[in-house]
Amino acid sequence: MLRDITIGQYYPADSCIHKMDPRVKILATFVYITALFIVKHFVAYTYIIAFIAGTILLSKVPLGYIVRGLKPLFLIILFTFAINMFMTKGEILYQIGPLDITKEGLYQAVFMATRLVLLIIGTSLLTLATSPIQLTDGIEKLLNPFKKIGVPAHELAMMMTIALRFIPTLLEETDKIMKAQMARGADFESGNIINRAKSLVPLLVPLFISAFRRADELAMAMEARCYRGGENRTRMKELSLHARDYIGGFITMLILLAVLINRFF
C-alpha cells in the first residue's frame, strides 16, 4: 500500500556510489538535470541513458526498486504523454474523434515522457544511494557560502533532516491508524468522492494529533540536550573528497559537454 512509495527512501548498499561525497552527488544531480533539459535530439539521450545505467549498475540498487518508484508518478507521465501527443500540430497520422495524433505530436510525446522518466530516475537515485543524514550534511556544506547573505544553512539542513527522518514514521503511523479504523468497520476504498473525503476524517485527525505530539516531543528532547542551532557545532565525520569523487564529477561534466556539443554544433 503506502509502503510502495520509494521517493526519498534510502537503499542501504555497499557501493562506490554510496560512498561518494554527498556534495559531489548533489552537484552531479544538478548537472544531470541541466543536461537533460539541454537535450534536443534522441541521440543525446543515449549518452544520458548510458550514464544513468552505468550509475545504477555501480550503485547496486536493483532496477526493480527504481522502477517501483516510478509507479506513483505513472499518471503524471501518462498525462504528459497524452497532452503532448494530442496538442502538437503537424502531419496527421491518426484521428480519434475530435483529437488528432500527429507525427510531430507522437515524437514530442515520446521525447517528453523519456525526459520525465529520466528525471525521476536520476533524482530518486540520489536519495536511494545517499543516506538522509549525508544528504543534509551535503546541502548544509553547499549552502555555507551563502550564510554571509543571511541564508540559515544549518537550520535549513536541520529542518530537512527532520522532515526526511519523519516521512517513514508518518507513513507507518498512517498505516497503523488506517488498520485500526478498518477494524472498526471504516471503509477507505469505496463510495463516491464526498463519502471518501469524509472517510478520511478518522484517519487525518489522529494523524495530525500524533504529528504535533511528535514535533513537541522532539523539540523538547532537543532543548533538553541544549540544542542551540549551528553555532560552534563540530562534526564527528567531516566530509572529504576522494579519487572516486573527482572521477565521478569528471564523468558527469563529460556527459554535460557531450550533450552541449550535440545541441549546439
Binding site: K179, A180, A183, R184, G185, V201
Partner: protein
C-alpha cells in the same frame, strides 16, 4: 466461534532489503469460548498474528478458518468478518478522533449500519462496561480525558460492535497497576458474561496467568509452546531462554520445591500459593 489457524506465514517488505519473516508456519486451534493468552518477546510476531484474524493483513500462505469460513479467501466479505472479530490495537487511544466520547464509541456500530436505538443502547452499554460513567463522559471530548480513560473509551469503541471474538493487543501497556488490574478484571467479566472468545496479547505472564484458559507462547514468528498455564509454567527454564519470565510466585514455589519441600510448583497466584504453603506447614505440624 472456533478459530483454526493453519500454517500461517507472513513476510513484511517482501523482496526488499528490509524483508522480515514475521510469522512462520503458525498453527493454532482455538475452541469456542476459549480465553487465550498470547505472549512473546517484543518482535515475536504477536501483533502480526492477531491482525490476520480479522483480515487486516493478508498472509503469504496458510489459512484462517473461523466457524468453518476461510477468511483468507478473496471472496469473503471483510466487513462481516470484522463485525465478528473485534480487534483492539496496541495503544488504541491514538485512534480516537471524534468530538465527543459518545460519537467515537458509536463509530464502529454506525459502520455496521445498525439502527439508531441499537447504536444508542450499545454505546451506553460499552461505556459503562469499561468502567466509565456514561452521563459524565458522553459529551466530553476524548482528548480531555486521562490516558487510562482514553484507553477505556478506545476499548469501548470495539466492544460496542459486540464481536464474537475479542482480541486485545496489549490493552494494559503503559497503564498504572490499578488501571491495569481494573481493565483486566473487566475483560474477565466480559468473558464470564458473554462467553465470547478472547485473545489477550501481553508481555507479562503475571497478567494473563490467572485469566486465561490456555497460553500461546510465540518466539521469532513461531509457536514455541501452547498449553494450560500450569503446563506452560512447568517449563520455566525454556521460557527464560526465550527471554520470558514466569510469575514471581511460581518462581518462589519452584525454589521451595528445589529445597526439598513437597509443594506443587504449578501455581501462579498468591492465594493459591498461600493455601499450598499453609497446607504444607499444617502437614508438617501434625
Amino acid at each position: 466461534m472456533s478459530i483454526r489457524i493453519e500454517n500461517l506465514k507472513h513476510v513484511y517488505n517482501k523482496n526488499t532489503p528490509f524483508e522480515t519473516i514475521a510469522l512462520d508456519d503458525v498453527t493454532i486451534a482455538i475452541e469456542k469460548g476459549e480465553f487465550i493468552g498470547l505472549i512473546g518477546h517484543t518482535g515475536s510476531g504477536k501483533s502480526t498474528l492477531v491482525q490476520h484474524l480479522n483480515g487486516i493483513l493478508k498472509p503469504m500462505s496458510g489459512k484462517i478458518i473461523i466457524n468453518g469460513l476461510d477468511i483468507t479467501d478473496k471472496k469473503v466479505k471483510l466487513r462481516e468478518v470484522r463485525q465478528k472479530v473485534g480487534l483492539v490495537f496496541q495503544y488504541p487511544e491514538h485512534q480516537l478522533f471524534e468530538e465527543t466520547v459518545y460519537k467515537d464509541v458509536a463509530f464502529g456500530p454506525i459502520n455496521l449500519g445498525l439502527s439508531e436505538e441499537e447504536i444508542d443502547q450499545r454505546v451506553k452499554e460499552a461505556i459503562e462496561w469499561v468502567g466509565l460513567n456514561f452521563d459524565e463522559v458522553k459529551d466530553k471530548s476524548p482528548f480531555e480525558l486521562s490516558g487510562g480513560q482514553k484507553r477505556r473509551v478506545a476499548i469501548a469503541g470495539v466492544v460496542a460492535m459486540k464481536p464474537d471474538v475479542l482480541i486485545l493487543d496489549e490493552p494494559t501497556a503503559g497503564l498504572d497497576p490499578k488501571a491495569r488490574d481494573d481493565i483486566l478484571e473487566q475483560i474477565k467479566n466480559l468473558h464470564d458474561r458473554y462467553k465470547m472468545n478472547i485473545i489477550l496479547v501481553s508481555h507479562s505472564m503475571e497478567d494473563i496467568a490467572r485469566l486465561v484458559d490456555r497460553i500461546v507462547v510465540m518466539h521469532k514468528g513461531k509457536i514455541a509452546l501452547i498449553g494450560k498455564p500450569n503446563e506452560v509454567f512447568e517449563k520455566a527454564e525454556f521460557l527464560e531462554s526465550l527471554g520470558l519470565g514466569i510469575p514471581q510466585i511460581t518462581t518462589l514455589m519452584n525454589r521451595l520445591k528445589n529445597l526439598g519441600i513437597p509443594v506443587r510448583n504449578d501455581i501462579f497466584t498468591i492465594e493459591e500459593a498461600k493455601k499450598e504453603i499453609l497446607h504444607w506447614m499444617g502437614r508438617k505440624k501434625c
